[in-house]
Symmetry: C2
Subunit: 318 residues, 2 copies
């Protein structure tokens, strides 16, 4: 199965024109050598490069008995695309490593890989290498992804967690909570939004909400040496959070605060930057200011209405 | 365990001076942002970049019941370093993704990660990111590695499988076979040799022997559209191949031809290039010419003495 799959992958990527024996002119301009050798080669480029990597595992990040393999493929690369978006970068090249259960059929492996490349293509990333093996264990998919900080960026050194400043607004890119009901497999990485923001304003700190709003915000404020006050009434709560609250015993707001895998952007920016975006209905409908960065109670998140601490919690994978 | 381990990893890497809150001057010159954010950032560099990725899995590539975890860590990164050597490149930055069994202790995870960083350090690579999770399954380690083709290289576009020319000598960098007896965990990636060769001569085709001499040579000749004749008497046979042959029912030569995971370099070069190296006892003791590239029987490997076909076979992982 392994050799047969590698042969198919090489053919599949060649049809996408990224294989090593396609004419050079058919390769994307930054790829000198694609899949099929010991490694891939990228051309020298005079832009800072972002590198991210994430593994997803059956029964931890998805359930092979329930979820469609092409959706699982989408998730495997989308979690990495979301990290690239959270760095204010544009994705370029992906390495895909598959550890397949021995019972996996060739057809399933094809649909999994096609799910990965379809999403890669849609967001302008090229699969240029990786490896594959089979074992007596669960499906594990690792994707590593490179990206570039665009030259016309307002933050030419990339977005980081450590730059939040007192007075910044805390902004999220969409409704939160209840992603376990399906969104965690289907989410769209916020690359287009990140790219538009890079051109328009300066972002002081950024991450994507993978663990939970409370946990990921706590990373930003700890690394930036500041505190945060959340206006909980302004946190956009997803329909899924409402639906889940019926059975979970938690409020919809608790789901929005503490659920993981929404993969929305969590940003801090000056009030004047946020005001700039108000002219544009695209941003106004998407971005919600939910609180403020402060210079006291460093490392803690307070509910701005009650001054009670919001204790970070979220799903720990494993 | 996951959060505790990530904290320890960040601290461990900071002590190795590659963490994000170390002063900028303490970071290696090409690393702008190290571990601890959504991704790492590398500075723009005007050199072609090599990208490789490989996963190793318990009960496929090692046995956690038998092998030392720090040796397993060594292997996880060394298989990737070997790929970088086989591209004629110098390693730079590594992303490490760990999928740990739930029974894994914190101490074991520390020794595993330390095994990875010790080997990375020794070969000039920096661990700059990755991720970690736990599950009800076997240990899986994925490493992705970037490298650069040096500017003083005789092959500025990197070494590839596809460049073998009729008349080239086929050369290996050391004795082969029987690596299952221990060498597959302890091998030294041939980076120093690759780097010396890059400065001295032009290499026409290259790979590392991961599947087997016969299989990896068949990749070179297929991609180069040539044939090969092996002088089997000249193939360097390891002591381990002799030892294994006592119990296996195979000859030592069969082990040298068909065993995997020796991670020696397999190269083709002109006869005059090989002669150049004869002045230097360092190369003379290491590199052995074992056959010749020919322009007939394309895609096949013949025994030069008997003109019988040598059928590629090797260990298929999974």
């Amino acid at each position: 199965m392994e050799q047969k799959l590698i042969g198919w992958i090489e053919q599949h990527l060649k049809e996408h024109r990224f294989a090593d024996d396609a004419p050079d002119s058919d390769l994307p301009p930054n790829v000198v050598l694609g899949v099929g050798d010991d490694g891939a080669i990228l051309a020298a480029r005079n832009l800072p490069q972002v590198l991210v990597a994430d593994s997803i595992v059956d029964q931890v990040h998805f359930d092979l008995n329930v979820h469609d393999v092409s959706d699982i493929g989408h998730k495997a690369i989308a979690v990495n695309l979301s990290d690239v978006a959270a760095m204010g970068a544009v994705p370029e090249s992906a390495l895909v490593s598959l550890v397949l259960p021995r019972s996996f059929t060739f057809d399933k492996a094809q649909r999994l890989f096609s799910g990965i490349t379809a999403t890669a293509d849609r967001f302008g990333a090229q699969v240029i290498g990786g490896d594959t093996c089979s074992h007596d264990g669960p499906l594990v998919i690792n994707v590593s992804l490179t990206g570039r900080i665009p030259c016309d960026s307002n933050s030419p050194h990339g977005w980081r967690m450590a730059g939040a400043r007192s007075g910044d607004l805390i902004v999220v890119s969409g409704p939160l909570g209840g992603s376990i009901l399906g969104r965690h497999l289907k989410f769209e990485p916020r690359l287009q939004l990140a790219s538009s923001l890079q051109k328009r304003i300066e972002i002081h700190a950024a991450t994507d909400i993978s663990d939970s709003l409370s946990t990921d915000l706590s990373h930003i404020i700890r690394k930036s040496n500041v505190g945060a006050e959340l206006d909980c009434m302004k946190i956009p709560v997803s329909d899924a959070a409402h639906e889940l609250s019926i059975s979970s015993g938690e409020t919809p707001l608790q789901h929005a605060l503490h659920d993981g895998e929404d993969f929305e952007l969590l940003l801090t920016m000056s009030e004047s930057s946020f005001a700039t975006l108000h002219d544009d209905p695209g941003f106004d409908n998407t971005l919600k200011a939910i609180g403020r960065v402060v210079d006291d109670h460093v490392g803690s998140i307070l509910n701005a209405a009650t001054f009670e601490k919001i204790v970070p919690s979220g799903y720990e994978h494993g």
